[in-house]
């Protein structure tokens, strides 16, 4: 792991200058807190410590549970020899990423630089329940990245980390396109076999980089696995240029077959569910759902759409606008209006981040609540999801598999979220501001205050009445079947 070492070498200098005065203060604070905590324990005040541990254990336990089946599946997943190893690296990377275990070499992690200090911070600012998800902060710059990281990949990575590219499929496509560049840029060293050298020495750094920008989505995982597979299957004595062309074609094919065409097919299918006079409820923004609705509209169905949206991303606004401009009758509610929304709706369309093997749906945080309310109101809940997003993983709750986004998003979004928090007193905006600011930036200084910004939650299968994928309409129970068919049969 030479580059890893190098990376760490770079990491230090990289980290040092980054310590803004704020962070210094933070550190000081942290140490003070450490002292206070110590005193507390001496006084024998039943502090969080025990609780913490307890909860930690719990999590560990889950992690194990979680991993075991996964590995098992992996075994099942790999028919051929040489991919297994390749794949497991990928997998395990992913896993370690999520479980954020220390011993893994993460090029840029302040932790590895100043363990003690980082630890302190984590204690105060990371929600214990999700400590296993709290990986290093999303990479916002190139510093400390692997030397070979391709500019396009870097660019894509940043776009992902700040949601310019958002949504499972979109990210997947972006990544693949980037990889095409990568492949073109790659120069095979003398006397190395493409398959042998490219994947571990050139492709993986790229993937790692993307991961460091934002944990990769299921669809990306599948795509990578697919890519690695075809690379593995390469005919050794095909010469470099040919190989590159071949791979690029393959990638294009993949995008075309598994995403572009699929979306169309699904939209076709799903739009059939929208009848005249129906009121379609949807949450946040899903590309497919948008397609579906527009399709139905194009087919001349008369219906209304209710978009429920939530902080901090407000994806629903884009959806609302695009539907509005398409001439649809759109109603837009904040998440709090959910109960109100389900009263009128006749159909709930959801997109997916990924469909888990136990039939549960992993999607934007809040989806579960929406599905729950809809289920209670006896509204059919339909998930539109390309098979490429189907996953071999399982999860029982939203805690094991998840992604923790930077807490700051929850704060910084606010000014734009609502212009000058309304309340009844229009007056003294400046005051309001001031008041907000305090809650905005000081949260790090307030001991015991944590802000949790989860990305996804897991919707129980019993809420989901139908999953629409390119293989047709299937019940959630047959997700694993489709997954095998689509993602492992290849």
């Amino acid at each position: 792991m030479s580059e890893a070492a190098k990376a760490e070498g770079q990491a230090k200098p990289a980290e040092e200058p980054k310590l803004s005065p704020a962070e210094l203060k933070k550190r000081a604070k942290a140490e003070k807190q450490a002292r206070r905590a110590a005193q507390k324990d001496q006084q024998g005040g039943a502090g969080e410590a025990p609780a913490v541990n307890g909860r930690r254990e719990e999590d560990r336990g889950q992690k194990q549970q979680d991993q075991k089946p996964k590995d098992g599946q992996q075994k099942g997943q790999q028919p051929q020899q040489q991919q297994k190893q390749a794949k497991q690296t990928a997998q395990s990377d992913g896993k370690h990423e999520r479980s954020g275990s220390q011993h893994q070499n993460m090029p840029v992690r302040p932790k590895s630089v100043q363990p003690s200090e980082a630890k302190e911070q984590r204690e105060t600012k990371q929600v214990e329940l999700f400590s296993h998800l709290c990986t290093q902060p999303r990479r916002q710059d190139i510093t400390g990245a692997h030397k070979d990281v391709h500019p396009t990949v870097a660019a894509t990575g940043f776009q992902m980390s700040n949601y310019d590219i958002c949504g499972s499929s979109a990210r997947c496509v972006a990544m693949l396109l980037a990889f095409k560049e990568v492949i073109q840029a790659y120069a095979l060293p003398k006397g190395k076999a493409f398959a042998m050298h490219f994947t571990p020495h050139y492709l993986s750094p790229q993937i790692d980089f993307l991961k460091s920008c934002r944990p990769i989505s299921e669809s990306m995982g599948n795509a990578i696995r697919y890519l690695k597979k075809i690379i593995g299957e390469l005919d050794p004595d095909m010469q470099e240029q040919k190989v590159k062309e071949y791979l690029c074609e393959e990638i294009d094919r993949f995008i075309h077959e598994r995403i572009t065409v699929t979306d169309q097919a699904i939209a076709e299918l799903a739009s059939g569910q929208i009848k005249n006079g129906s009121v379609v409820l949807t949450y946040a923004k899903s590309a497919i759902v948008e397609k579906t609705i527009l399709q139905a509209h194009a087919q001349g169905a008369q219906f209304r759409v209710i978009v429920v949206d939530s902080r901090p991303l407000f994806e629903g606004k884009q959806l609302a606008i695009s539907l509005m401009t398409a001439g649809l009758d759109v109603e837009y509610l904040p998440f709090s209006g959910l109960a109100h929304a389900v009263k009128e709706a006749t159909l709930l369309l959801l997109g997916a981040h990924s469909m888990l093997s136990n039939g549960r749906l992993q999607s934007r945080i809040g989806t579960a609540s929406v599905a729950m309310q809809a289920h209670k109101a006896h509204i059919p809940v339909i998930v539109c999801c390309e098979s490429v997003k189907f996953s071999g993983k399982v999860a029982l709750d939203s805690i094991v598999l998840n992604e923790v986004a930077p807490s700051e998003e929850l704060l910084l979004q606010k000014p734009t979220a609502t212009m000058q928090p309304p309340s009844d007193q229009k007056a003294n905006d400046d005051e309001e501001d001031e008041g907000k600011l305090r809650s905005l930036h000081d949260w790090k200084e307030i001991r015991g205050l944590q802000i949790l910004n989860l990305m996804y939650d897991v919707t129980p299968a019993e809420y989901i009445r139908m999953v629409i994928c390119e293989y047709g309409n299937v019940p959630p129970s047959s997700v694993p079947a489709v997954h095998r068919l689509a993602n492992e049969g290849m």
């Binding site: 007193q425 229009k426 007056a427 005051e431 309001e432 008041g435």
Partner: protein
């Protein structure tokens, strides 16, 4: 909530205040906007009593003031003062439980300026006061603005006024699309250092004086502000008005003026930008529509129907913004669509559909009626099988059965439309019309015109005497907007206050609609002064033409006049056009042929036209032609005159092919039958020029080939 709490600490609440009140907070409501934009409705009723979402406009304004803790209100009422007074007398604002004392001042003033000067004489204003129009719909609290204003005053006595502006997005429906005020603000002092009208879709050009640039290292240029005409003024403001008797309008007159002689008086005008709350003015039909929609979909919360500000209101809101008052009678099969307001004791017959509309009280709507996007005021009756689309039906009006009221039609009070009649787009049907003297208007009953209201109907199509043509144009614009789907219609009002220098709209509808804006650009006082200027200029021009003075001197006089009233291009063009047509008409009356008339009028005085119509600018030409045309409508042999005049213009290269082309295609040039009639003959000129053009081009080509 905590921020509030902190606010409590230093907000301007009396209990925190250091001093006890020594003077009440005063406000001035300008109930009359000195304009006729809401004709025919304003013929009988003051604008501030028109109902928006079934509540008179004045109520919104008063609520807003009360909500800001105003303690003393002076209301300037122009037209129909008696009605205003009568209404307010039995409103809660005149009771002793009213939060403020209300004093109605009847005035003959013909502009805001006059009103202000009058106010100054009356010596009623003790301290700082709020100045608003009688048609402001706003849920904002001015507390913050007032506090800020105060603070400034403490520091600098010269800060005489604070304009309260609402920050809005790029495309807010109550915000203008085609022209909007552009404030240049010093971010530190919040002082407005420069004010201008901007045309977003045109390359914005601001003429900011060097001094300003020198004095203010930092400047914000804001064109995203809704100017809802709420000003916080110091007594000094009144003094200023009095000193400058020629100022008519708060913005273009006052603000411009003050900013202009900043060097001399050092007076500053400040802005307070609201970032939340709702604030808008009902200036014309488009805004009426837009704001109604806002109120119904609660953007003006809590100023919504179901707040029932009026004691006798009993609105309840159901899902989908459906507001029903008690005792609404709905046939089982009737359908009430979203965003609808139904007043008390209104009944709706079987299979009728009401959608996106406001229906007043005691209305009777028959069976199988379809009403969409319409405003139906109290006691109106709609017969069976009638279709009403985006129109306004006034109080007590009745529309027979099987009628069709098309987009933008206005049916005024008490009008009766007979069964099976179709009311055309944009027609204004009224019982009354206005005889216009320059000083005072008298309103007289017109005689019924069966062609419009059908046999047995009552009412006639309200025509426009020449001084109302601008209003008429507004209406066109307004109607078009009413008609266009909500998306941007509502977002446009063609006349923001004192956009009167504004000439060209750039609307998707058509470029030449620029003409629309002539009147529409002017709000009350603007129009008034414009009218004055126009009148004066036109007459003097005409006289001098009669006298056959030499063009240069005439031009000189004109110039002087222009400067005096700082009128701008458009008005001059108009004046010239009118003068010319008058002149020609005179010739004709004296028995000359139209041809001679034209030739002997135009060519000798071509200078005048040259000066005011830039031969390079197609717009100006088009405009001039339109003016000419519109004026000639009323002249004997108008069409002939127009034809020959056009020839003359062409020959003198005062207007070129494009100009004519543009004019010919202009919507307004054929907005009414008369206009069409007048211009038909001129077609030949247009065509002729066109061919000429092309041929010339061809020649060019040939040359090129050589």
């Amino acid at each position: 909530m905590a921020p509030k709490g902190k606010k409590g600490a230093n907000a301007a609440k009396p209990k925190q205040g250091e001093e006890e009140p020594e003077e009440p907070l005063q406000a001035v409501i300008l109930a009359d906007c000195y304009e006729t934009r809401f004709n025919p409705f304003t013929l009988e009723k003051p604008r501030c009593l028109l109902t928006l979402a079934n509540m008179p406009l004045i109520e919104y304004t008063c609520e807003m003031l009360a909500g800001s803790g105003v303690e003393q209100v002076f209301l300037y009422s122009g037209n129909h003062s008696d009605q205003v007074e009568q209404y307010l007398q039995q409103s809660r604002w005149m009771r002793d439980t009213s939060p403020f004392s209300l004093e109605i001042i009847r005035s003959t003033s013909r502009s805001v300026g006059d009103a202000m000067r009058d106010l100054d004489q009356k010596q009623l204003i003790k301290g700082d006061f709020i100045c608003v129009y009688g048609d402001v719909v706003a849920n904002v609290q001015l507390e913050a603005a007032l506090t800020a204003h105060k603070a400034r005053r403490e520091k600098n006595k010269k800060a005489i006024m604070t304009m309260v502006l609402r920050e809005a997005g790029d495309s807010h429906r109550t915000n203008s699309q085609h022209t909007r005020p552009c404030f240049v603000i010093d971010p530190h002092t919040q002082a407005c250092v420069h004010y201008e009208q901007m045309k977003p879709r045109k390359s914005p050009r601001l003429e900011i004086s060097d001094e300003v640039l020198k004095d203010h290292p930092e400047m914000e240029i804001r064109s995203d502000l809704i100017d809802c005409g709420i000003d916080i003024c110091t007594p000094e403001v009144l003094a200023q008005w009095s000193d400058n008797f020629d100022w008519q309008m708060p913005r273009r007159g006052f603000v411009h003026g003050v900013l202009k002689d900043f060097e001399t008086f050092q007076l500053t005008i400040h802005t307070h930008v609201l970032t939340d709350g709702y604030a808008a003015r009902v200036r014309n039909l488009q805004t009426y529509d837009a704001i109604s929609k806002d109120v119904v979909s609660r953007w003006s919360y809590p100023y919504c129907p179901d707040t029932n500000f009026l004691p006798d209101h009993s609105y309840k809101m159901k899902r989908g913004f459906v507001y029903k008052e008690d005792g609404v009678v709905l046939a089982r099969s009737s359908v009430i669509g979203r965003k609808t307001v139904l007043g008390e004791a209104t009944s709706i017959g079987d299979d009728s559909v009401v959608l996106n509309s406001v229906v007043g009280r005691r209305c009777v709507i028959g069976k199988r009626v379809k009403i969409e996007g319409a405003y139906i005021w109290d006691d109106a009756r709609i017969g069976d099988d009638t279709v009403i689309d985006t129109a306004i039906v006034g109080n007590d009006a009745s529309v027979g059965s099987k009628c069709s009221v098309q987009k933008g039609a206005l049916i005024s009070y008490g009008v009766r439309i007979a069964d099976g009649t179709t009311v055309r787009e944009n027609t204004r049907v009224s019982q009354l019309k206005r005889k216009r003297g320059y000083e005072e208007d008298e309103v007289v009953r017109g005689n019924t015109d069966p062609k419009v209201v059908g046999e047995g109907g009552d009412g006639f199509r309200l025509e426009f005497d020449e001084d109302e043509e601008d209003v008429f144009e507004t209406l066109v614009a307004g109607v078009q907007d009413l008609a266009v789907d909500e998306d941007d219609s509502v977002s446009e009002f063609s006349d923001e206050e004192d956009e009167d220098e504004e000439v060209h709209h750039h609307r998707k509808t058509s470029r030449t609609e620029s003409f629309t804006s002539i009147g529409s650009e002017e709000s009350g006082e603007a129009r008034q002064s414009a009218a004055d200027f126009h009148h004066e200029a036109a007459n003097s021009l005409f006289d001098s033409l009669q006298k056959g003075q030499d063009p240069d001197t005439i031009q000189l006089e004109l110039k002087a006049l222009t400067l005096a009233t700082n009128a701008e291009g458009k008005q001059i063009r108009r004046a010239v056009a009118v003068a010319f047509s008058k002149r020609m008409a005179k010739f004709v009356e004296t028995g000359k042929s139209a041809k001679e008339a034209a030739s002997s009028t135009v060519s000798p005085n071509r200078l005048l036209i040259e000066r005011c119509v830039d031969a390079a600018s197609v717009e100006e030409q088009v405009e001039f032609l339109l003016f000419l045309q519109t004026d000639l409508v009323h002249r004997p042999q108008g069409s002939k005159l127009l034809l020959f005049a056009s020839f003359e213009l062409a020959n003198n290269d005062l207007a070129d092919a494009d100009g004519f082309q543009g004019w010919w295609e202009a919507a307004q040039s054929s907005a009414t039958e008369e206009l069409k009639k007048v211009k038909v003959e001129t077609k030949q000129v247009v065509d002729f020029l066109q061919d000429q053009d092309e041929s010339s081009e061809e020649e060019d080509d040939e040359e090129d080939e050589d």
